[in-house]
């Protein structure tokens, strides 16, 4: 095992973490401000990926597709918020789970209806094709590095948005006391729609960026959604900082676990068995980490509520 390989895996973990952050930031924002658990967030991720793939293949430009993914996901989010989600804020979590579960069925089956069951493919834009050399002699895909860069920019942008702008001030106020800011004359229902659309746009962006690495297909959002849940549970629901920390932790632990566990076990077990046990353990690793963190801090590492 060379240092270059280790670095490559570390970067892969970081890239996964950044993707998870884009998903988790929206989820945690929506929960923090509106108190809503949104299972359909993965569907918005899928909408972004499909919009990007469709527009990119129609226009030939990945960048127009990327813009389309933001617009499509934000629009889908806003429409869903106005039609359905708005009625759920006052309901208990069970109703929210069920209604958004129903939305998943509608979105997945609707997308299959429109696009068929075959996956679409999205090419990496020419500007970002190729690889960059790593210290230690390895190569790393430029596109993945760019994805990490996008994540860092979005994280910084979100920080500025929330801490420095009027909208951010309202979002923070909405988190701490929604009746009060409504009483102060802020149009709370527009604010909710904006926050939901913002979260949706982030999910759509994540979907489009990942779409170029994997295939674009129905159901692609669900595994990511569940990982994003793990992220916000670890980070503390409602906390963007927690989402960032949790996302990087989950991304790196998951990737490194899959890479290192079989090797570590091969010191003790025969090779074939080490691979088997290692792979099985690695797929459970983040959940074990989550259970350990929750056993110590039941409301996550950076809980906004406590």
């Amino acid at each position: 095992m060379s240092a270059a390989l280790l670095l490559e895996q570390l970067l892969n973990g970081l890239q996964l973490g950044v993707m998870l952050f884009l998903m988790a930031a929206g989820l945690t924002l929506i929960f923090g401000v509106m108190g809503l658990i949104n299972l359909a967030h993965g569907s918005l991720y899928m909408v972004g990926a499909f919009a990007c793939a469709m527009i990119a293949s129609a226009t030939g430009s990945f960048w127009i597709g990327l813009a389309a993914s933001l617009v499509a996901a934000a629009a889908a989010g806003a429409i869903v918020e106005v039609l359905v989600i708005r009625r759920l804020y006052q309901r208990d979590h069970l109703d929210q789970v069920l209604a958004t579960f129903a939305l998943i069925l509608i979105f997945s089956e609707g997308t299959r209806w429109l696009f068929g069951s075959f996956p679409l493919y999205l090419d990496i834009p020419p500007l970002l094709q190729g690889a960059v050399p790593l210290p230690g002699g390895g190569q790393y895909q430029l596109y993945r590095l760019a994805v990490i860069g996008v994540g860092v920019v979005v994280a910084a942008g979100l920080y500025l948005l929330i801490s420095r702008t009027r909208l951010g001030m309202r979002i923070r106020a909405g988190e701490s006391d929604r009746e009060m800011i409504a009483a102060l004359g802020v149009d709370i229902s527009t604010l909710y729609t904006v926050v939901f659309a913002l979260g949706a746009a982030l999910a759509g962006l994540a979907g489009a960026l990942v779409g170029a690495l994997q295939s674009v297909q129905v159901g692609m959002g669900e595994p990511v959604l569940i990982l994003a849940f793990v992220v916000i549970v670890i980070g503390g629901i409602g906390s963007i900082k927690g989402a960032l920390f949790g996302a990087v932790l989950v991304g790196v632990v998951d990737t490194m676990g899959r890479f290192l566990l079989p090797q570590a076990l091969s010191l003790m077990l025969p090779a074939s068995q080490a691979n088997l046990v290692g792979a099985a353990l690695a797929s459970m690793l983040i959940y074990i980490v989550m259970a350990l963190i929750l056993a110590i801090r039941p409301s996550g590492l950076f809980s906004a509520q406590s």
Partner: protein, 323 residues
């Protein structure tokens, strides 16, 4: 006799009469459909103990459903290949033994999962139970000894002393009797001192603690019992399909179990039965009309959640007297 008792008796009779009639008319397909309803209803009865009585929104009950299924699958495979289990114990195809194994395994797994998950509440609880179920799902998928992603076939349906389980009707009757026992257990728990404490924990945990009953223990026991009933249903489901599939462990299954309860009516004794009937019939009728039946199922579900909170039993028997 209240309207609810009447509605319950009607549902129970309907579920028994239709497959018997279908069997004598030579339509085994409808017997299988009814068996599916009975088994899914039993799984949801299990979840209803945690969800309906305890207010514990477990989004991970597929874990127990799947574990029960795998218990049936693994034991049947070992018996089929004449391989002994751990410590050289011979495997078996006897259903009562398999059920016992499924119940014990689910109870043993539910205790640690519940112990960690119940430290939290609300949304955290939903997500953590989901995450634990995913953990078991990924384990089953990545562990090739018992089929991995392909699942585990049960070549010959397991046996029950004195009955030919390969025939649809006897197998249906087994499932039906177990469903009735599950419903009786639910009723017994609901009306017992334990059930009173459990429902009090849902309504106001602080007050319950103040009168000297620890809510955590009550909830943990309820969670484990709930998991055991769902696990038993899982074993039956695997035998019904002659297949233990990883999809039994998937989070869609957890969602479906909750859907069954809500369609029928949360916390109602026969809610899961009504919900399972409605769900399987929708699946069958819509699935016959359009390939895209899940789209319409989603719309119907959305309508029920937004506008019809009492579920089917609420429609038949009026709203519940207590919240």
């Amino acid at each position: 006799m209240t309207r609810e008792t009447f509605a319950n008796a009607l549902l129970a009779l309907l579920l028994l009469a239709v497959p018997i009639a279908a069997s004598y008319m030579g339509e085994p397909f409808y017997v299988t459909l009814a068996t599916r309803i009975a088994v899914l209803a039993l799984a949801a009865v299990g979840l209803n103990i945690a969800l309906g009585l305890g207010g514990l929104v477990s989004f991970g009950h597929a874990a127990f459903f799947g574990l029960g299924g795998y218990a049936a699958g693994v034991l049947a495979t070992h018996a089929f290949n004449a391989e002994p289990l751990l410590f050289g114990i011979a495997s078996t195809t006897s259903m009562p033994v398999i059920w016992l194994v499924a119940i014990v395994v689910c109870g043993l797994v539910a205790l640690p999962i519940g112990a960690v998950s119940l430290r939290t509440a609300g949304v955290y609880f939903i997500m953590i139970t989901l995450a634990f179920a995913q953990m078991i799902y990924y384990f089953a998928v990545s562990w090739p000894a018992y089929g991995g992603e392909d699942g585990l076939s049960i070549y010959v349906r397991n046996t029950f002393p004195g009955l030919n389980t390969a025939q649809p009707l006897p197998f249906f009757l087994i499932c039906y009797v177990l469903l009735l026992l599950g419903l009786l257990l639910f009723r017994f728990l609901r009306d017992s001192r334990f059930g009173a404490a459990l429902q009090a924990a849902r309504q106001n945990a602080t007050r319950l603690a103040a009168v000297g009953i620890p809510p955590f223990k009550i909830r943990l026991v309820a969670f484990a019992i709930s998991a055991m009933v769902t696990g038993l249903a899982g074993a039956l489901f695997a035998d019904l399909n002659r297949f233990a599939s990883p999809s039994m462990l998937s989070w869609h299954m957890s969602g479906e179990l909750i859907v069954l309860i809500v369609l029928g009516g949360i916390g109602r004794q026969f809610g899961p039965v009504a919900g399972a009937m409605l769900f399987v019939l929708l699946e069958y009728v819509l699935g016959g009309i359009t390939e895209r039946w899940q789209f319409f199922l989603g719309l119907i579900l959305l309508g029920v959640v937004l506008f019809a909170r009492g579920g089917l039993i609420g429609l038949l028997a009026g709203r519940a007297r207590h919240g």
